[in-house]
């Protein structure tokens, strides 16, 4: 009983009260001021960039994440266990360091002559870096469990490797890919640390939603910051909800 | 210590696990709770142990109402179906657990543990971890652990269920002898009628959350009080409303006028026992159990016509 009470207090102090305060602040001026806050040109540009960049990034993640998981499970090559271990590096690496790391190779004075700093490409690059492990790590265990004899049965029935991939493997992996995509999406929509150095935070150009919120806080415009925050949080939760529903529906028969 | 359950009821959601069950187990008895899965036997055992609370009714152990007492104060030794070993402790520490939570002196604990390990024939394995033991050894360790605190009552949930046939037979025999030695009131749960018949002094047959019949193994076999008990304990033929044990069916080579005619449809040799599937003249099918010698004398073969003498059938209302 005592434990439950303490847990309740802890969660209230850390999560419930702050979220409530955020919702309250975003609606202080009613719907019209909420609407004004999220429809200012700079906010619209930032939100649009966030959503579009995130959408592109999660698609790339779905493809490359699945591919990397495939190679890690079905292929054998020297150093595989090391590659497997470093997949998690973006989770372990502080986000600000992720930004520095990318700038070291793709920034000013790049040793390979590629400088994407302060461009929209940098936004995508940073988001790809920090979300890399999600799809890999959700697909990998499913692929490990996937019954190889199912694929063998399919090819013994005369299916070509393309057909096996399309009809047997991908449907089994789809729920895992989608849940990895959902996690990537939530992470990318709110990403901040890895972006501040490499994107230059140029309004209307490379400024994403979280950076915009940060700027509004610095300018002491808390209601506007709260309004955009609520919008981004809602977007993350809605996408998480939809994708986990879809993934649940798809995995009904597989399980 | 005698155990008594009075009018115990328990539901899990809509499912009635126990429906007004009353049961008395005498001091020092060895009792089996026998029934198909979902019959409520494990729930009853867990309620006696204090691992579940009944919705209605009382549990009395040694004359004391323990219905609301927590499991740890009931003085009950419980052996779990999958042994529930403490995987991070070695055999010695597993067996010593009950004594060490009671903060007994170290030398007393190690003396008692050594004694118990000898009793369950695990001496020499004290330093092993559960992952290094076989199923039968785990079972015996779990038993020693339960006995270490000198329980007044020993409860075992499907104690041999997860073991292979040979080890199971050995352990059954051993449990019966152990009980003769330490004489603690013991209840074990099983779905295997043969196991119950072989080990227990008293069998309680359960079905759908109720007790169908309780009594000595022989009584249950010879005087079952209803069709469930009759068909659960031993094989039966069902002829309309009547029940006949296959070994009570007599087969005769020549008709002497007292039997009915039957056609042999299949003969299955199971070593000493031979099963004969028959079609009676009225079209009903039965099977009979005969010995190898009888089968040889009758020169049994498919297609043969025999005379069959049925015993007075048992009818339950």
């Amino acid at each position: 009983m005592l434990g439950k009470g303490l847990l309740g207090i802890y969660l209230s102090v850390l999560v419930l009260l702050p979220v409530a305060a955020l919702l309250a602040k975003s609606s202080t001026g009613g719907t019209s001021s909420f609407w004004r806050a999220i429809s200012s040109p700079e906010a619209v540009a930032a939100i649009k960039l966030t959503l579009i960049a995130t959408a592109i990034v999660v698609v790339i993640n779905a493809v490359f994440g699945t591919l990397i998981a495939w190679v890690l499970v079905r292929d054998e090559f020297p150093g595989k266990s090391i590659v497997n271990a470093v997949i998690d590096l973006p989770f372990a690496l502080p986000t600000i360091v992720a930004g520095v790391v990318l700038l070291a190779l793709y920034g000013k004075g790049s040793p390979i002559g590629i400088n994407v700093a302060f461009t929209r490409v940098a936004v995508g690059l940073a988001l790809l870096f920090v979300t890399l492990p999600f799809v890999v790590r959700s697909v990998q265990p499913v692929l490990l469990e996937l019954d190889y004899s199912m694929e063998e049965a399919a090819s013994s029935l005369g299916a070509g490797s393309g057909t096996v991939l399309r009809r047997i493997v991908l449907p089994s992996l789809a729920p895992a890919i989608i849940s990895g995509v959902a996690l990537s999406f939530a992470r990318a929509v709110g990403e901040f640390g890895s972006l501040v150095l490499i994107t230059g935070n140029l309004p209307f150009k490379t400024e994403v939603g979280s950076v915009y919120i940060f700027g509004q806080i610095e300018n002491d415009n808390l209601p506007a910051a709260a309004a955009v925050s609520v919008l981004l949080l809602a977007a993350a939760l809605v996408v998480l909800g939809i994708l986990s529903f879809v993934s649940g529906r798809l995995s009904r028969h597989v399980q | 210590m005698a155990i008594e359950a009075r009018n115990v009821g328990k539901r899990f959601g809509d499912f009635v696990a126990l429906d007004d069950v009353s049961l008395t187990v005498g001091d020092g008895a060895l009792t089996a709770l026998l029934g198909p899965s979902g019959s409520g036997k494990s729930t009853l055992l867990r309620i006696i142990a204090g691992l579940e609370t009944p919705d209605t009714g009382e549990v009395v152990i040694g004359g004391e109402d323990v219905t609301s007492a927590p499991a740890r104060t009931r003085g009950v030794g419980f052996v779990f179906q999958h042994y529930a070993p403490f995987k991070h402790m070695n055999v010695h520490d597993n067996v010593a657990f009950g004594l060490s939570v009671r903060k007994r002196p170290k030398d007393e604990i190690s003396a008692r543990v050594a004694e118990l390990l000898a009793l369950v024939r695990l001496d020499g394995l004290a330093a092993r971890y559960p992952s290094q033991l076989s199923g039968g050894q785990l079972q015996r360790m779990a038993l020693a652990r339960a006995l270490a605190v000198q329980p007044q009552v020993l409860l075992l949930d499907e104690p041999f269920g997860a073991l292979d046939a040979q080890v199971r037979a050995e352990l059954r025999d051993w449990l019966r002898r152990l009980h003769e030695e330490i004489h603690v009131t013991t209840i074990f749960v099983t779905h295997d009628q043969e196991e119950a018949m072989e080990v227990a002094e008293q069998i309680v047959v359960m079905n759908h959350g109720r007790i169908e019949q309780a009594g000595a193994p022989r009584t249950l076999y010879e005087a079952p009080s209803n069709e469930f008990v009759m068909s659960f304990i031993g094989p039966v033929n069902r002829l309309g409303d009547a029940y006949v044990r296959p070994h009570d069916i007599q087969l005769l080579a020549d008709s002497d006028g007292t039997g009915t005619e039957a056609l042999v449809e299949r003969v299955v040799h199971l070593g000493f026992e031979v099963r004969v599937e028959l079609k009676l003249s009225d079209g009903r099918g039965v099977w009979a159990q005969v010995t190898r010698e009888e089968a040889q004398l009758l020169e049994l073969q498919v297609g043969q016509i025999l005379s069959v003498r049925l015993p007075p059938p048992r009818v339950f209302v």
């Binding site: 979220v19 955020l22 495939w70 292929d75 986000t95 520095v100 070291a104 806080i217 | 009950g98």
Partner: protein, 298 residues
């Protein structure tokens, strides 16, 4: 056909594997080519996105020798940033560990209404941007926030000081311990705990002697993840800290500060220290997974 069927029923079942048709030489070669292509694409992607950039900062840090690196490490602001980060981790991680285990026990063993909701609340920090976490904390504990004024009158300053930074760090790293412990707790089951109970152990004795040892590797794994996240948190801490040099500047904030002041050696050095800590985290994570895999195999 019938004779072969008879043979099948008589012979004991062999392996369940369906024999694969021997592929023709061409097919074999093209399968191999496909495999190599996939491997090259996957490894190339990882090299470009992950490995080369990380290797690059090590090169950048040490390209002018060790002396400037040493100067950067021993700079007073770097030192104070490092120790402040350690201080925050030393408070936030134990808090989240204790409460994380408590939440896991409640979610996995408890029976109460609103359990699903509690699970959502615990996971919420994963769905919220760190910046938003910082903002939400300011709105509650800042000067103009719900309780900031009152707390200030009592002599507690939360925002723009260490308590706020601890709070922010605790929020963003909240879910890890619970999330890593819950599956282990489920795997452990309740049998051993009930066995302890029938043997006379009290609730506390059961927790310390049976439950906790049973889930220890899950907890440790969660603690490692919590520590990594806590050490590296940037956005939320950035907002609630006020970024006062030498006072409320953690190591990640120091990296940004150095970078924006064109002190690339200082920035790279601090980044390398953090990267080394991240690599150590990875190492520990791998050792732990190997260990649990061995134990479950046994």
């Amino acid at each position: 056909m019938s004779s072969s069927e008879g043979a099948v029923t008589l012979s004991p079942p062999t392996s369940g594997r369906i024999p694969r048709r021997a592929p023709a030489g061409d097919a074999l070669r093209s399968a191999r080519a496909r495999k190599l292509t996939l491997r090259a694409i996957a490894l190339g992607y990882l090299a470009l996105l992950l490995l080369t950039p990380v290797a690059m900062i090590f090169y950048r840090t040490f390209e002018h020798g060790l002396a400037p690196v040493w100067d950067a490490i021993t700079a007073p602001n770097a030192q104070s940033a490092f120790w402040l980060s350690i201080e925050i981790v030393a408070i936030a991680v134990p808090l989240n560990t204790v409460f994380g285990i408590g939440m896991a026990l409640l979610l996995e063993r408890g029976r109460f209404r609103g359990k699903g909701l509690l699970g959502l609340v615990i996971d919420l920090p994963f769905a919220i941007s760190p910046v938003v976490v910082g903002l939400a904390l300011v709105l509650v504990y800042g000067k103009t926030g719900w309780f900031g004024n009152w707390l200030g009158e009592q002599g507690f300053q939360i925002i723009f000081s260490v308590p706020g930074m601890v709070l922010a760090t605790a929020v963003v790293s909240l879910p890890f311990v619970a999330r890593e412990t819950i599956p282990v707790l489920r795997e452990l089951g309740t049998d051993a705990e009930q066995a302890a109970e029938t043997l006379g152990a009290s609730g506390w004795q059961t927790f310390w002697r049976v439950t906790l040892p049973g889930i220890r590797w899950g907890v440790v794994y969660g603690v490692v993840l919590t520590t990594a996240r806590a050490l590296g948190e940037f956005g939320a801490v950035s907002i609630v800290s006020g970024r006062i040099e030498g006072q409320t500047q953690t190591l990640p904030l120091y990296v940004q500060d150095r970078f924006e002041n064109f002190d690339s050696t200082g920035a790279y050095t601090a980044a390398v220290v953090l990267a080394l800590l991240a690599l150590a985290t990875l190492l520990v994570m791998n050792l732990l997974t190997r260990r649990t895999r061995r134990e479950t195999a046994a």
